[in-house]
Symmetry: C2
């Protein structure tokens, strides 16, 4: 069966896209088939996997243009990693979706065919930094959520916003199966600030925080300019090793796979 | 007269809030009166200035609750710096605004009274990381825009998205006076990546990029946990000096004040 996981946090720049792109590559290296759904009009996950964003080609065209999602899924240079690309016009979906009757289950409907086909072990959804309808759609369509969290004060303040949103989507009946499967601390540095933030998050969410922490590394910032996940661009770097560890921890929480 | 400036970039985590909070403090230190409008449901500018976000108290209540904006403006611990606070329910405005007839000029209307009062020399609007109606409202209500840009590849890719959006708001007639007044490079480090990105941005936008660059510094990350701008929290740090320089450059471009 296919497992749908959203990588979400309304706080900007916390490492959502970097986590999606690297987790996808790591799971594929371990033999799983992965579909990345880029739900951010910035299309960073698309270009981060080396695919050129093309105007009119995004999950939105599977609805507005009545195209079949199968025609939009694109391969990447990384074996067993495919992507539903994004492009900037996806931003227009927010306003249009907000006007639909059941604006929460649009994505659910579009992905249903892909899920039934059982072609993919995992579908990873890269969410935009917002509290809008694209994010709510991703949560309504997912089995679980991974929350990347920068080791910074503003990111910590925002953690309750995303956890409350997940609970609301779960308890309102929009998606009763939804849970936060993990919080991953990103851009960790050996500073008092990082250590403080990590300590506080581990205290408040003891069973949810992954023990793997992703260190800050310029390699992670360089990789997107080559259209590659950092685990492919700099495989022996500490940040690549950390993402491989995260992949193992992720699979442990999904024992069945 | 009152000058309205949006600090905007749809890319997340590039230093929008940090720039708003510090530019406000620096301008106030130079004798100007400043109003910060927090248009982000995360309310980071609110807490970054030491003000407690309170449920129901945001610019949205000036519209939905028919409250007067004057009742919502709050003082801060920093002389000549006031703030229109935000809170998470502002996120609900996106869906409601999208359904209004003229959903682009909501903020313009709300701020009109404040602008007429001429109490403030500058109104700085902290925008959320999105391409939604809150951001469009900020651009439609502003005289100019400052775009903070992290020295990273994804942020550079996204620069054309915000510049295109500004041109669309300007050329569509929604706000003919709007211009990008400056691009400020943030979180600069002495790496090949930072130098490459700065070089490319200076090449494409030669007259727009401020010569002041903001260095990466853990002090900037620590300051929000004390509810203070870094120019107040660590006044002798390089990042504080850079924001003071930015303030001087900003005023040079606004000669009249
Ligand atoms: N471990 C890391 N070390 C250093 N830089 C990193 C790391 N992870 C990500 N980055 C860089 O930090 C920036 C923000 O990361 P990323 O774009 O993945 O975050 P995001 O949460 O997806 O942002 P947005 O909110 O805009 O979608 C990017 O420029 C990325 O290359
Ligand atoms: N010069 C700097 N050096 C180091 N850290 C910084 C610097 N400027 C900002 N930061 C930190 O980086 C993070 C992102 O900055 P900030 O929140 O200001 O960006 P933003 O663009 O407002 O984010 P969002 O898109 O979520 O609104 C914050 O944790 C902030 O404290
Ligand atoms: Mg992203
Ligand atoms: Mg911000």
């Amino acid at each position: 069966s296919t497992n749908i996981v959203s990588i979400a946090n309304q706080k900007g720049g916390v490492g959502k896209t970097t986590t999606v792109v690297n987790l996808a590559a790591v799971l594929a290296d371990m033999g799983r088939t992965v579909l990345v759904v880029d739900l951010d009009p910035q299309a960073n996950a698309t270009s981060g996997l080396g695919v050129e964003p093309r105007s009119g080609v995004s999950i939105y065209s599977a609805v507005s243009g009545n195209e079949d999602i199968a025609d939009i899924i694109s391969g990447t240079a990384f074996e067993r990693v495919n992507v539903v690309p994004s492009e900037v016009n996806l931003a227009g979906a927010e306003v249009e979706l907000a006007r639909m009757a059941d604006h929460l289950h649009w994505l659910d409907g579009v992905l249903a065919k892909v899920v039934e086909s059982e072609v993919f072990d995992y579908i990873l959804i890269d969410c935009p930094p917002s509290l809008g309808v694209l994010m709510s759609n991703a949560l309504a369509a997912s089995d679980s959520v991974i929350v990347p969290m920068q080791c910074e004060y503003y990111a910590m303040e925002g953690l309750s916003i995303i956890t409350n949103l997940v609970n609301r989507i779960k308890n309102s009946g929009a998606n009763p199966r939804l849970d936060i499967e993990g919080i991953v601390m990103t851009m960790f540095t050996r500073t008092r600030l990082s250590e403080d933030v990590v300590g506080q998050v581990r205290e408040h969410y003891p069973d949810v925080v992954y023990s793997t922490m992703i260190p800050r590394s310029v390699r992670a910032g360089e990789a997107p300019s080559y259209g590659m996940p950092v685990v492919e661009y700099a495989p022996s770097s500490p940040v690549a090793a950390a993402y491989r560890d995260l992949g193992k921890e992720f699979l442990k929480r999904h024992k069945a796979f």
